[in-house]
């Protein structure tokens, strides 16, 4: 017996190892459950190394990129200074800054504006296999990530978490054939199921042929799948064919178009409205530039001075009284402080013509709903800035996705959907939020964009 085992030792070991793995496989398939500890061991062993490698790679490439960028900028600045002078150089520099809006900052702004509770994550690896469409991100169950959570970017949905480990999570991308999500079209509210096809565009299944779907139309998440909250962009329709019994719709996923460096995991989703216009065409409100120190406060967004006066608007009650008395003195050719004692004082009850004294500008962030000569009320004095994005990237649209910034600073058209911005019925600007941020100045009575939601809690770190 012993000699028999020795003789067939190799094949015996092979059969035992194969049989053990087949049993392992059968248990998983039959119970539809995973063997978590084996995966946890492997992922816990691999992902820290991958994170370290990613840290070194990011640091070195960032250094090189910054070095090259700064050197180019310096050379470009000198050349421009010689060519056109400082003003033009500054203009070009600002344009470059705008065009190179940092994607990570955009993600941060999106995260702070979306109503869903999100967690920023970074890709650290790809799933094995030539046909695999999974990635690993550096956030795991320690940070609250759970299986089934949605993964998005400001551009659209990316995928969903299919496994969560202590230090990392596996994300199934929208292009994977196993991926599915409930979607709804923007114009006609046609509902369907988004499915990946391995590569390239995704398809939308189960849209009846009676439904109308057009090329160029956008699909959004419907929220029916209980994974993706309603209202997140999915992608644009690139082809529609009449099938039987359903339409054959191809959608270019928008969430993967700018790479998979950074993304957000939705820890707690909040459903949103489907916007009326496509993400790329949605009107975007840009608050006016802050007033310069030497410039007349109250200038509108285009830089035109307010019609009130060229003097500084009073900021306190004392300032208003001082201006009032000065106007009274001017009206009676009286110079305060120059009359001798005993001389007749000016008539302080004299009626001044309207517009003689500027109204008081309050400092608590609430602007008085008073218009002067049909022009907007004066701007604030306290230095609290309206919500202008610091990175020059377009502010988020009402659904949370950033839209293109307008270059001319013109106010946006009024919104068509029901989500109206905070404008009072009488057209006066709405009071500012309680946190001290102000409602931006409104140049022509145009309603500003929807006020941003409060920042969500789950940020990176």
């Amino acid at each position: 017996m012993e000699s028999l085992l020795n003789r067939y030792r190799n094949i015996t070991v092979l059969l035992l190892v194969i049989a053990a793995q087949l049993i392992l496989l059968a248990v998983q398939v039959k119970n539809n459950r995973d063997i978590p500890f084996v995966r946890v061991w492997t992922v816990t062993a691999v992902t820290p190394i991958a994170s370290v490698v990613e840290w070194f790679r990011g640091g070195s490439s960032g250094f090189l990129h910054n070095y090259v960028f700064l050197r180019d900028a310096d050379a470009e600045n000198r050349r421009l200074r010689e060519e056109v002078g400082k003003l033009k150089m500054d203009n070009i520099f600002l344009r470059n800054e705008l065009s190179q809006a940092d994607r990570a900052r955009a993600l941060q702004v999106f995260q702070s504006n979306t109503q869903s509770k999100t967690l920023a994550a970074r890709t650290i690896g790809a799933g094995p296999g030539s046909g695999s469409k999974t990635i690993y991100v550096d956030r795991g169950s320690v940070e609250g990530v759970e299986r089934g959570m949605a993964v998005v970017t400001p551009d659209g949905i990316v995928g969903k978490v299919i496994a969560s480990y202590p230090t990392a999570s596996e994300v199934l991308l929208v292009t994977d054939p196993d991926f599915a999500a409930g979607v709804v079209s923007q114009k006609n509210q046609a509902r369907g199921t988004l499915k990946g096809q391995g590569n390239g565009p995704c398809k939308v299944d189960y849209v009846p042929i009676e439904e109308k779907v057009e090329v160029g139309e956008w699909f959004y998440t419907s929220g029916d799948d209980r994974i993706f909250p309603r209202g997140f962009p999915v992608g644009m329709v690139t082809a529609v064919h009449e099938g039987q019994p359903f339409k054959e719709i191809q959608v270019e996923p928008s969430g993967l178009q700018h790479g998979l460096e950074d993304m957000l995991i939705i820890l707690s989703g909040v459903h949103q409205e489907i916007p009326d216009t496509a993400p790329g065409n949605q009107p975007v409100y840009i608050a006016p530039a802050p007033p310069d120190a030497g410039k007349t406060p109250g200038a509108d967004a285009s830089g035109a001075p307010a019609a009130a006066s060229s003097t500084t608007a009073p900021a306190t009650e004392a300032d208003r009284l001082r201006a009032h008395y000065k106007a009274l003195g001017d009206a009676q050719n009286h110079v305060f402080g120059e009359n001798l004692p005993g001389q007749k004082p000016p008539n302080f009850n004299l009626a001044l013509p309207p517009g003689g004294v500027q109204p008081l500008v309050k400092q608590n962030g609430v602007q008085p709903p008073v218009k002067q000569n049909g022009v907007q009320p004066p701007a604030k004095q306290d230095g609290v800035q309206p919500p202008v994005r610091q990175d020059g990237a377009p502010p988020p649209t009402p659904n949370g996705a950033p839209g293109p910034a307008k270059q001319n600073g013109a106010p946006p058209p009024p919104k068509q959907n029901g989500a109206q911005p905070p404008v009072k019925p009488n057209g006066a600007p709405a009071p500012a939020p309680q946190d001290g941020a102000t409602t931006p100045a409104n140049p022509a009575g145009t309603p500003p964009a929807k006020s941003p939601a409060l920042p969500s809690g789950g940020g990176r770190g």
Partner: protein, 177 residues
């Protein structure tokens, strides 16, 4: 080494030049192969076709000429690969176990130091690996999976070329017995 007059077939096992590796070399190389597949496609998606864990399994099985050693390396690397994939544990494990076993069996009979032999063996083992994996996904998991013969053959050829270069590098890490 001049291969012009060397024999490819070995007449006995004593002719074979069994190679041994330090344990840490085996572990580090296998881990590096898995990390390669885990990390690199993120930046170079076209490198997704490179099956580095497969190449490492084939190499260790060929040069160690131990069937049990080959199948164990294949099983462990395959299970580690399974752990990072979306499929149940055991799919890559079974495939690579068989690849390791058969590669070691071939290594007992053929002089695997010959580059052309390595190229041909890697080519055929890659096709065997892909076809077996395809069969298992369809048969055991009942999941649809495409297997493009031309694409598979091209990937096999490219993996074989990469494998020959990799094997040449790994040869420097082995301790000849």
């Amino acid at each position: 080494m001049d291969y012009s007059d060397s024999r490819i077939l070995l007449s006995s096992q004593r002719e074979s030049n069994t190679s041994r590796f330090r344990a840490w070399v085996t572990v580090v190389v296998a881990l590096a192969a898995i990390l390669f597949q885990f990390f690199l496609p993120r930046f170079f998606d076209f490198l997704r076709f490179v099956e580095m864990p497969f190449l490492v399994v084939v190499y260790f099985a060929l040069v160690r000429r131990s069937q049990i050693g080959g199948l164990l390396v294949g099983a462990l690397v395959g299970l580690a690969q399974d752990s990072l994939s979306k499929h149940p544990l055991g799919m890559f494990g079974i495939v690579k176990t068989l690849v390791g076993y058969f590669a070691a069996s071939v290594g007992l009979r053929i002089d695997v130091d010959h580059s052309m032999v390595r190229l041909v063996l890697t080519f055929f083992f890659y096709i065997f690996h892909q076809v077996l994996y395809w069969v298992m996904v369809r048969a055991l998991l009942s999941q649809p999976m495409d297997l493009d013969p031309q694409r598979t053959a091209l990937s096999a050829l490219l993996n074989a070329v990469i494998g020959v270069a990799l094997f040449h590098f790994l040869d420097k890490l082995r301790d000849r017995a």
